[in-house]
């Protein structure tokens, strides 16, 4: 239970652009144990997807990934050859994407695509693979699995496709699943079902789960640990309870104020808001990226920002120490 599956330190992702280098992910750390759910939350463009793709080794050659430490089950991913990495992908670590509509190959049946995931890594016959696929489809709540295997993606609804994606990720019984906004494109009712399914499966199979999302509601309900990303950095991280009960970074606090919460926010009352937009990360970036939108910003914010500990594992990056009470 306490075995650390993934350990990331100082992960950076740099994208060379015509006008300079985009420092899309700027030195982030996180670690994950078996059976844990880590939620990475942040606004659009904050680098969540790049982080997960970097871990999977799915970023193109053009994009530079750097890390002080990038360990998966004790193996240093940085030293693996592309072929070794390929053997790991889909087998020990699997990924689920945001768009169930476009994430399945329209030219092949569900069955073919599920089997492929298994046959790429295990010497099994097609029939065995099919059996496994049918079994897993049942597990993710798809009835009449046998006939579904013969169908093509376009014949399924979004919710079903996302279940297929989950089943595909589970084909080799991986240790880590990274789900990049798996429910964003789905209806609320389906979203709840899928999240529930993921949570159940994680528990059942004792997986490590990284869930990328921008929905704080989702985070609160499912996460063990939370990492709040802003402009390529983790500005605050900790257990879900700590983050939601005592948000310490001005950005996290801002975010929580923004969302109307039934029962809590009064209908008609103005919501909190964060003015401005995310700054460009092209070229050298110094200081706190949030300071252009932060009500508390001062000169110190353009200096190096210290990493502070609020309590236990709860960390945040800010020049201000425990502002919580003052600002409120």
């Amino acid at each position: 239970m306490s075995e650390t599956i993934l350990n990331v330190e100082g992960l950076t992702v740099d994208i060379p652009l015509g006008s300079g280098t985009l420092h899309a992910v700027r030195g982030i750390d996180f670690a994950l144990k078996r059976g844990e759910t880590l939620c990475i939350v942040g606004e659009s463009g904050s680098g969540k997807s790049l982080t997960s793709l970097a871990v999977m080794g799915l970023l193109g050659k053009r994009i530079q990934v750097g890390a002080a430490k990038l360990e998966f089950e004790g193996r240093d991913l940085r030293s693996l050859t592309p072929r070794q990495m390929q053997a790991l992908r889909g087998d020990r670590m699997a990924m689920i994407f945001q768009e169930p509509m476009t994430s399945l190959n329209p030219a092949y049946t569900i069955g073919d695509q599920l089997c492929e995931a298994l046959q790429l890594h295990r010497r099994v016959s097609k029939a065995e693979a099919m059996a496994q696929a049918a079994d897993l489809l049942g597990k993710v709540g798809i009835t009449a699995a046998e006939s579904r295997l013969q169908q093509y993606p376009h014949q399924l609804s979004g919710g079903l496709r996302q279940r297929v994606m989950i089943a595909m990720a589970l084909m080799c019984e991986p240790d880590l699943i990274i789900a990049d906004e798996p429910t964003t494109a789905l209806d609320v009712t389906i979203q709840a079902q899928i999240l529930r399914l993921l949570a159940d499966l994680k528990r059942e199979m004792n997986l490590a789960l990284i869930l990328v999302t921008h929905d704080l509601g989702v985070v609160a309900r499912i996460a063990d640990k939370v990492a709040v990303m802003y402009a390529g950095e983790i500005v605050e991280s900790g257990t879900a309870k700590a983050i939601f009960d005592a948000p310490s970074h001005p950005y996290t606090r801002g975010l929580l104020d923004c969302i109307p919460v039934p029962g809590k926010t009064k209908p008609g009352e103005p919501l909190g808001s964060i003015p401005g937009i995310v700054p460009s990360l092209v070229g050298d970036v110094a200081g706190c990226a949030f300071r252009s939108r932060c009500a508390l910003a001062n000169d110190a914010c353009s200096e190096t920002i210290p990493k502070r500990t609020a309590s236990g594992e709860h960390m945040y990056r800010c020049v201000h120490e425990t502002l919580i009470s003052e600002v409120a």
């Binding site: 015509g18 937009i277 700054p279 460009s280 050298d284 200081g287 252009s292 001062n298 914010c301 353009s302």
Partner: protein, 299 residues
């Protein structure tokens, strides 16, 4: 707020679309090459009377097929030599630029108008109109162009006007196809719905909401069809059913020179290379324009 400069470049991006486009154009070598060659040809066409010191129609039967300057026995009076009737090849080449450009431009305009009208109507109105236009496009595509062009030219006798008209009335299909699909695409966008909800008339929506957004596609197709028309005219001339002599069309020059190509290869090489370069330039320009105006190139 004391923010480092790197972080203040935000909210409203400083760079204007015009400047962006300019930057992209100057970074696109193909486009630059195409543009400069085309500019050269246009200059040659416009200033042909100044650049050529011979009349392209004056023949001298006693000075036939003089070689160009890089070959032995060339005549300083005729830099690019003379043709089978002793006409100055440089003069013909320069005046020929006018013909090729004229054919390209007018054909593209005629077919562009037909194709755009049909394509926009089909794309915007959809339904029955679309069915009819699609049918017309199918009929047009099912007609073998070269054959039909040959038949018509054979029927009316070749002349510049007829070649242009025939090509103009045959080459509209790509315009229609491209316009149809791009208008359909734009039509589904919400700003068109917004314009309709505002109460804009159909004309206004088509002209001021849709057209500006498909005009780049139109220009790209236009350049490609220009090149296509120039090549087709050359092919028709090659088959003896194009522009009529003594018009100095490049296609015709190749066709006239081809008889001697095994012995005096430069007779077809010179207009051939000119034709190749012009068409290449127009194609590169078209491709370049597509690249720099493509939405995915933005940002």
């Amino acid at each position: 707020m004391a923010n480092a400069p790197a972080l203040t470049a935000e909210t409203i991006v400083a760079i204007s679309p015009g400047a962006m486009l300019r930057r992209r154009i100057f970074g696109h070598y193909g486009l630059l090459f195409g543009l400069s060659v085309l500019a050269l040809v246009v200059a040659a066409a416009v200033f042909a009377p100044l650049l050529a010191d011979h009349n392209p129609y004056t023949q001298d039967l006693f000075a036939r097929m003089k070689p160009p300057f890089w070959m032995a026995g060339w005549d300083p009076d005729h830099l690019l030599g003379t043709d089978q009737l002793g006409r100055d090849y440089l003069a013909r080449l320069l005046y020929g630029a006018r013909i090729s450009l004229l054919i390209g431009i007018v054909t593209a305009l005629i077919s562009g108008m037909i194709g755009t009208a049909l394509g926009v109507a089909a794309g915007y109105f959809g339904g029955k109109v679309d069915l009819v236009v699609t049918f017309l496009i199918n009929v047009r595509l099912a007609m073998p162009v070269v054959l039909v062009a040959l038949a018509i030219v054979a029927l009316f006798g070749g002349s510049l006007q007829i070649v242009i008209l025939v090509l103009g009335f045959l080459l509209w299909d790509r315009f229609a196809v491209v316009m149809r699909s791009s208008v359909m695409q734009i039509r589904g966008l919400e700003y068109v719905n917004a314009a309709r909800a505002i109460g804009c008339s159909t004309t206004r929506i088509v002209l001021s909401e849709i057209m500006p957004n498909v005009v780049n596609n139109l220009i790209v197709v236009m350049t490609l069809e220009m090149a296509h028309a120039i090549l087709l005219e050359a092919a028709l001339s090659f088959l003896g059913l194009g522009v009529q002599p003594p018009t100095p069309s490049w296609g015709l020059m190749i066709s006239e020179g081809k008889e001697m190509m095994l012995f005096q290869p430069w007779l077809i090489t010179i207009p051939g290379v000119a034709l190749f370069l012009l068409v290449l330039a127009i194609n590169l320009l078209g491709d370049g324009l597509r690249d720099v105006t493509a939405p995915e190139a933005k940002g």
